[in-house]
Amino acid sequence: MTEFTLYTFLAASLGLIAIGIGGVILSRNLFRIVLALSIAEAGGNLLLVLIGFRHDAIAPIIEPGRALTTMVDSIPQAMVLTSIVIGAGVQALALALAIRARASYGTLDMGIMRARMEADINRVAGAESAASLHAPASSSTLLTERKA
């Protein structure tokens, strides 16, 4: 494996991280945000394994009847193994929250969801303001500014 190939790996993993983070920022759809998050995570894992790679080394598994030679670093591999499984758990939880959010607000679009959420908060706050003296004064102007 040449030096050039290792830099190709580096470019791939950094590209995955950049695409993933860019997707998390750019997308307005919750489902797509979850997908972009998993891509960024794959890039980070690839980077960690790449750091543990060693020239002219074999996989860190001893095969009976084969002479012991150098092996690649096994610590990053063990960490990445943990990270991938946790990432799947995070993805499942994020999808469940997205399902819940869509059930509550009827949309997956972040912009529409934020507007409905603020309307909800305002309705509750407005209902309370009749009974309470400590109603937030600025909440209604915030909504009108957003809508304008």
């Binding site: 494996m1 040449t2 050039f4 190939t5 190709t8 790996f9 470019a11 791939a12 590209g15 995955l16 695409i19 993933g20 860019g22 997707g23 750019l26 997308s27 307005r28 759809n29 489902f31 797509r32 997908l35 972009a36 998993s38 891509i39 794959a42 894992n45 690839l46 394994v49 790449l50 543990g52 790679f53 080394a57 074999i58 996989a59 860190p60 598994i61 690649v72 591999q77 990445v80 193994l81 991938i84 499984v85 990432g87 799947a88 993805q91 499942a92 999808l95 469940a96 997205a98 399902i99 869509r102 009827g106 949309t107 997956l108 679009d109 529409i112």
Partner: protein, 97 residues
């Protein structure tokens, strides 16, 4: 340049193309399919980097578990329904930005 390097280049093209496809495909189910392709290429990367354990985990989680998870979630979110109706609904779910 050995042929392993050529496979690396091939997989880099695959991984970057599918990662961009995840962001820019209008249809969200297609984007979900694209992420399973990303984990496919990453799994081949791990084998080239002499990490069969990690490659096995990525293959199992990325291809199997993530595919099942995304499919079931897409069913509950009604994503295919949105594509069939071609917008016109309240959800603007297909807009990438």
């Amino acid at each position: 340049m050995s042929w392993a390097d050529l496979i690396v280049l091939l997989m880099v093209v695959l991984v970057l193309a599918t990662a961009f496809a995840t962001l820019f495909l209008r249809n969200l189910l297609g984007a979900a399919v694209a992420t399973t392709l990303v984990s496919l290429a990453v799994s081949v990367f791990y084998v080239i980097l002499r990490a069969p354990d990690v490659a096995l985990t990525e293959a199992a989680v990325g291809a199997g578990l993530s595919g099942l998870l995304l499919a079931l979630a897409a069913k509950r979110l009604g994503l295919w329904h949105i594509e069939v109706q071609e917008a016109g609904l309240d959800e603007r779910g297909d807009d990438p930005c």
